[in-house]
């Protein structure tokens, strides 16, 4: 089971934010160090190209720095909301629908030498299937199973009730399961 990624406790985060707001560059460094990989993972599973994920991560970091003085409430919720808005803008800009696309059509192959071929295929398949979910479903799946957030925390990030998040989670997993089954069937038919 993947470990939960939240190793920065609330008090430390609060102090860090105070320092960042006072333009302390070391604090900015710490904040980047903690949130940059999280934001990258959040975006990575929701865009088609790795370059887009990297560019959008960079843009989110800049936006965070530019508007940090306006930040109120949960920082986690705030930063993921910025990332979500950036992804929406990205698709709007490119006028690309994040819905149905044929497998292997547009998802870029991951050039990461540290992963095995099977892991890469699984990661690619997951990205492909995720990209076919609705925007909210994608957010819930990534936050819950990639980032390790709890249901109530996701409710806070997305701005919905806990019950609504549970419903989204159920529908997302059911849809993905169906997609995996269909792919499995197609592969078996191909072999035969």
């Amino acid at each position: 089971m993947k470990s939960v990624n939240k190793d920065l406790n609330d008090d430390i985060l609060l102090q860090l934010l105070v320092d960042v707001k006072a333009n302390d560059t070391k604090a900015i460094g710490k904040l980047c160090d903690h949130f940059l990989p999280k934001v990258y993972r959040f975006i990575y599973y929701r865009v088609k190209k790795i370059e887009d994920a990297e560019d959008l991560t960079s843009e989110v970091c800049l936006r965070v720095l530019q508007s940090i003085h306006e930040q109120k409430g949960s920082f986690h919720a705030w930063i993921y909301r910025i990332a979500s808005n950036m992804i929406t803008d990205h698709y709007r800009r490119r006028a690309v629908r994040s819905t149905v696309k044929s497998i292997g059509d547009s998802i870029e192959e991951i050039d990461d030498h540290s992963n095995t071929a099977i892991e890469l295929l699984e990661q690619q398949e997951l990205r492909q299937n995720l990209s076919q979910l609705t925007e909210e479903q994608q957010q819930v799946i990534v936050l819950k199973f990639i980032e390790g957030y709890k249901t109530d925390e996701i409710a806070d990030v997305i701005g919905k009730s806990v019950g609504a998040i549970r419903a989204i989670q159920f529908r997302a997993l059911t849809t993905m399961r169906t997609m995996f089954n269909e792919e499995g069937q197609r592969r078996n038919e191909g072999k035969n």
Binding site: M1, K2, K26, I28, G29, Y40, C61, L62, R166, L173
Partner: protein
């Protein structure tokens, strides 16, 4: 019915996060097992996937963008002062009347602020942090841009101290001793003396600094030693001995230096240049004690 299954799925996922197996969860809700099982298996598959990480190039590019942003904020906040100065200087220096040169000057200023910001942002990182490689690159650049041998030696001492601080930070976080950092700490202190020629008149002061640094490193290592894993204690002991030996040797060197040249001027009582006895010359070329096997 659907609400029940949504709730049960969420409960099972939370239970799995706490360490329960799929089978244990299904046994508790056997009535819904056929519906829950494929979904919980999918959850396990998703969570077992390796986590993607941004490439070092992407991290550097992001940090440079952040550095630019900080530079822009800094320069924008100082704009009125710059303008006032610009008006004054126009009448004195023709160079500022040329837009190309002015542009180059501004670009250089922005570049300096960007580099400074990036260096500061990564300053507190430790091995394992995504910014750490950038910190090492910044240190290398700083070292390469330093031409004075005394300042180079000082930088080596600073790097040695940084490795010690990082080793402590890693030890506090993970409870494990990072022997690579320990080796680098000792290497940097060694290079501070061996890799640079210190002017004779400053050798005594530098020896005092080195002695102090080594004594401090020895103290810190002695404090860490009881908390270190017993299998790593021998390494710590060797490092403590090495720091102690270096510190003592530096003190001896300081005393010898003072004996030969009390006024540090390099001249003897008759005003003639001092010639160091052959035995002392030899001792100055002495190595930093025997090497440690684990460091090779």
């Amino acid at each position: 019915m659907e609400q029940d299954i949504e709730l049960l799925l969420d409960i099972c996922i939370e239970e799995m996060h706490k360490g329960k197996s799929i089978e244990e969860c299904l046994a508790e809700y056997s009535q819904y097992a056929s519906q829950l099982e494929p979904l919980l298996q999918l959850v396990e598959q998703i969570e077992a996937l390796p986590q993607p990480a941004p490439t070092p190039e992407a991290i550097s590019s992001t940090l440079i963008n952040i550095g630019k942003e900080i530079a822009q904020l800094t320069i924008t906040s100082e704009t009125p002062v710059v303008r006032r100065k610009k008006r004054k200087t126009i009448s004195f220096f023709n160079i500022f009347q040329k837009p190309k040169l002015m542009w180059a000057f501004n670009a250089a200023l922005i570049l300096i602020v960007v580099l400074f910001s990036v260096a500061t942002i990564s300053a507190n990182s430790v091995p394992g942090d995504i910014l750490y490689p950038l910190k090492l690159v910044t240190e290398k650049v700083k070292f390469l841009l330093t031409f004075d041998s005394e300042k180079k030696a000082e930088l080596r001492l600073t790097f040695s101290d940084k490795r010690l601080q990082e080793m402590i930070a890693v030890f506090q976080q993970s409870g494990k001793l990072d022997t690579t950092l320990l080796k680098e700490m000792l290497d940097e202190a060694k290079l501070a003396l061996e890799g640079n020629e210190i002017p004779t008149d400053k050798a005594s002061i530098f020896a005092a600094k080195l002695s102090h640094v080594n004594a401090y490193q020895k103290d810190v290592l002695e404090k860490i030693r009881p908390r270190v894993n017993p299998s790593s204690r021998q390494i710590v002991d060797e490092a403590i001995n090495m720091c102690d030996m270096r510190s003592r040797w530096m003190r001896t060197m300081m005393n010898e230096e003072n004996e030969i040249s009390p006024d540090s001027s390099g001249l003897d009582s008759t005003g003639s240049p001092q010639i160091m006895p052959r035995s002392k010359q030899k001792s100055n070329r002495r190595q930093w004690g025997p090497g440690c096997d684990w460091m090779k």
